[in-house]
């Protein structure tokens, strides 16, 4: 498994973790006057050590109820993505372990 694979998955995990906090803030502040809800979007950076770049963008979901619905849906999707990334990381670590054991024989 390439180092790039680990870098990509681990950065993805960090971004999804940060996104969870941003979405939790959107949920908690849905009824706060003047609060502007935000979300995290990622794109490829072309950097091997940090393959993705993350940036914030403001969301306009139509009031308190809309912000709550957006944040809940995004939180659910974020959790699924995080789980998939964690599964990928585990699979890569297992593969890494097998290769290391083979090399040791």
């Amino acid at each position: 498994m390439s180092q790039f694979g680990f870098a990509a998955v681990e950065q993805g995990l960090r971004i999804e973790r940060a996104r969870a906090a941003v979405l939790a803030a959107d949920t908690a502040n849905a009824s706060t006057p003047g609060f502007i809800a935000k979300d995290v979007v990622t794109s490829l950076s072309g950097d091997a050590d940090a393959p993705f770049s993350a940036r914030l963008h403001e969301i306009s979901a139509g009031g308190s109820a809309g912000t709550l619905e957006y944040a809940m849906a995004a939180t659910a999707k974020n959790a699924v993505t995080y789980r998939a990334l964690a599964g990928q990381e585990r699979a890569m670590l297992r593969e890494f372990k097998v290769v290391a054991e083979e090399a040791g024989r």
Partner: protein
């Protein structure tokens, strides 16, 4: 690097705020039929929330910016904030009277003789507010559970 427990603290602050909101709504509903409180009619109260930056212990802190998200190759300057109760405010004064001469609180003389001052609580509006607060509380719980699931997944990676 973002504090892994930040989502927990933010969601918890939201739950605390919505709990306070429900307490105020319950107080309004309980006083919907109160004629007077200390000589004046009960006035509907409502909560005002404000964003709150959180300390390590999850308590609100003023001006702290220690949770700015800093990701490798993808830093963005933003500190996700919790929420806190800024104030509980009275609704604008409106005088509502009900003719009830047998009520011991009814005016005994003057142009309002036999009338009692009523509270301005709108029970239907308060019930809608209660449902909204419950929904917001549920959303905070969902955010908390999402963060918990992330911790479980991360812990599972550690065991590999």
């Amino acid at each position: 690097m973002i504090d892994p427990s930040l989502a927990f603290d933010i969601a918890a602050s939201g739950m605390t705020a919505q709990r306070a909101n429900m307490d105020v709504i319950a107080q309004n509903l309980a006083n919907a039929d109160s004629a007077t409180v200390a000589g004046a009619p009960y006035r509907t109260q409502s909560v005002v929330f404000e964003p709150a930056t959180l300390n390590d212990d999850g308590n609100a802190a003023d001006g702290a910016d220690e949770f700015a998200v800093d990701l490798d190759g993808g830093a963005f300057d933003y500190a996700p904030q919790g929420v806190r109760l800024a104030d509980v405010v009275d609704a604008p004064a409106t005088e509502q009277y009900r003719y009830d001469p047998s009520n011991p609180l009814a005016a005994r003389s003057g142009p309002r003789q036999g009338f009692v001052m009523e509270s301005d609580v709108d029970p239907i509006g308060q019930m809608i507010g209660l449902i909204s607060a419950g929904r917001a509380y549920d959303a905070d719980v969902a955010a908390l559970q999402g963060a918990k699931q992330m911790d479980v997944e991360a812990d599972d990676i550690d065991r590999q």
